[in-house]
Amino acid sequence: MATITTSDVRPPALPPATGHAGLRGVVASEFTKLRSVRSTYWTLGALLIVSVGIGVAVMAGQSSSLTHNPGNKAGFDGTQVSLIPFFEIGQLVIAVLGALTITSEYSTGMIRTSLTAMPRRGLVYAAKAIVFTTVTLVIALVTSFVAFFAGQAMVAGTGVGASLFGNVKIPANAIFNGPGSPGSPPKVTFQGTDVISASTVLSAVIGTALFVTLVAVIAFGLGAIIRHTAGTITTVIGIMFVIPILVQLLPDNWRWDITRFFPDAAGRVISVTVPGGGNPHLWSSWPQMIVTACYAVGLLAIGAYLFRKRDA
């Protein structure tokens, strides 16, 4: 005898709907997906710990160095130093999330359930990209500002910490005048001043967050192309870390000409706030950011094409 009767399996009727299932619902769905798995919180937590934690440690070291060797104050870029762990290491952490957002659908088989529920693939891909990019941008901005403020707090007593609320003057050059008396810092005289404007600092902090977001989008696009978590993360590391190192082995007279065209170059110039402190071989901040953005948009587009074209 059946233990489950007819009435037990009758689904309650659903009120009829008009119109068309569209982007709005799919965006809500993708947000639910992102917030309902632990890997999201792990990677975002790791991003904050790596970026802010290492940033604070580095700035604490700088604080001691600036006290014991005041000559280091000349040309000190407090903004960039506080953000280096974020854009160098944090970008990899967020790249893992970018890859997982799409590759975990394939590794778990969820993609087939997702596309059965919503077979309009362009919509699914767009919603995924919108939700992931928006969440990443917000988190990257928060991380960037927190890393900046926490970092500057560590060098507060040195007089060369950067500020978002006013211009800061730092010595341009330092001349070493021999060792100081025992127990006190060496004698230095400073020549000239550099003014670090608050607006430059603001654009460095925001720009670095944008750069990290673009790297995350690159990882997302590669994820859609490769459809495999480990393969995607390896490829991102290759593009962002290994190739730049290999390029340094090339002859100086032409390696910079190609370095400009790599997606990692923007990170090195966008965070610079000291006038003339940028890399003279690279383009300035925003043109260099456009290079990174071209990679992000290009890979996102190839990913979209393949996402729609291939069997799921």
Binding site: I4, P11, L14, G25, S36, T108, R112, T113, A117
Partner: protein
């Protein structure tokens, strides 16, 4: 109404589905049968737009599946119960699916209740047994209150209680006027549930008919008879134009004669009979017969197909 027209799908050099044409009528349970590797799953994937056909078209209510206004309200499909992100709770899994079709949030609770998973709604699905995963998958298919439900091998690996539950569910859904399309490689599974059958082998259509026609269309009933005078009876049967083959335990399988004709024949020849039974061809037998030539990977069966070893239809 699902219409498959000239569907062909190749994976590299292998043709998984070969110009398949059939339709699925509403309000019935249509069984989709074939040996493993016959192309059942591929056909279902093409209907859902997961795979793109190389040739042919598939339509649901005259439209291709991705063009439907609210796909989940038209078709609920369960191809793989384990195709979920195991780190997501049952509730959130269903919620993210419901949201794609703008279905109300309360619907998630309703279908969880329906499949009996309310208590584990907040649990991550990676800890679910196969039976629970299957229920979660079925909950997902019912989210949109769909007109068509599709299940691929739904009872594989389930315990008897789970099998019974799924059978009842399919019958109920069909009784409500929904179209139920269910695949299996086990004929016995269809015997109690399906009204209509579509049988494929090696990607080609073998049969598309009602269950009744399917059984009748096979080589049909035979009569088993036992007698001490085997040789004499076989000669008499052969003389009447029927065929006789040796069955097990000294019996004879006779085709082409009814029990009445055989009884009268034996009486007129003065032959004593110890047994005279009609053996109705089981669905399983009919299925084996039809697909024998289309089984993709067949082990050599010593002695080949053995007549008379499958008795009755109560598999």
């Amino acid at each position: 109404m699902i219409e498959v027209r000239g569907l062909t799908k190749r994976y590299g050099a292998k043709t998984a589905v070969d110009s398949l044409t059939f339709g699925i009528e509403p309000g019935k349970v249509t069984g989709f049968l074939g040996p493993n590797g016959a192309g059942k799953t591929t056909t279902m994937r093409c209907i859902l737009g997961l795979d793109y056909p190389d040739e042919g078209t598939v339509t649901v209510d005259g439209k291709s599946y991705p063009d439907l206004a609210y796909p989940m309200r038209e078709v609920g499909a369960l191809l793989e119960a384990k195709a979920v992100h195991g780190g997501r709770s049952a509730f959130n899994h269903l919620l993210c699916l419901a949201q794609t079709n703008s279905l109300p949030r309360r619907r998630v609770g309703e279908v969880l209740e329906l499949v009996g998973l309310t208590e584990v709604a907040g649990k991550r699905s990676k800890g679910f047994s196969l039976g629970m995963s299957q229920r979660l998958g079925i909950a997902a298919t019912l989210l949109g209150d769909p007109k068509v439900v599709m299940f691929d091998e739904p009872v594989n690996g389930l315990d008897p209680e789970g099998i019974l539950w799924i059978r009842n569910l399919m019958r109920t859904l069909a009784a409500e006027g929904r179209t139920v399309f269910v695949s299996s490689h086990l004929m016995s599974e269809m015997e109690h549930t399906a009204d209509h059958l579509i049988v494929i082998g090696r990607g080609k259509l073998i049969a598309d008919c009602t269950m009744r026609d399917f059984i009748a269309g096979s080589s049909g009933a035979s009569v088993r008879v036992r007698t001490p005078s085997t040789d004499q009876l076989v000669r008499a049967i052969t003389a009447k134009g029927a065929t006789a083959a040796t069955g097990d335990a000294g019996s004879i399988e006779v085709r082409g004669m009814t029990t009445e004709q055989l009884g009268e024949l034996a009486f007129s020849e003065g032959i004593v009979l110890h047994e005279l039974t009609t053996v109705r061809a089981s669905l399983e037998e009919a299925f084996m017969e039809l697909t024998a030539s289309s089984v993709e990977y067949r082990a050599d069966m010593p002695g080949g197909h053995q007549p008379g070893t499958m008795i009755g239809s109560g598999v």
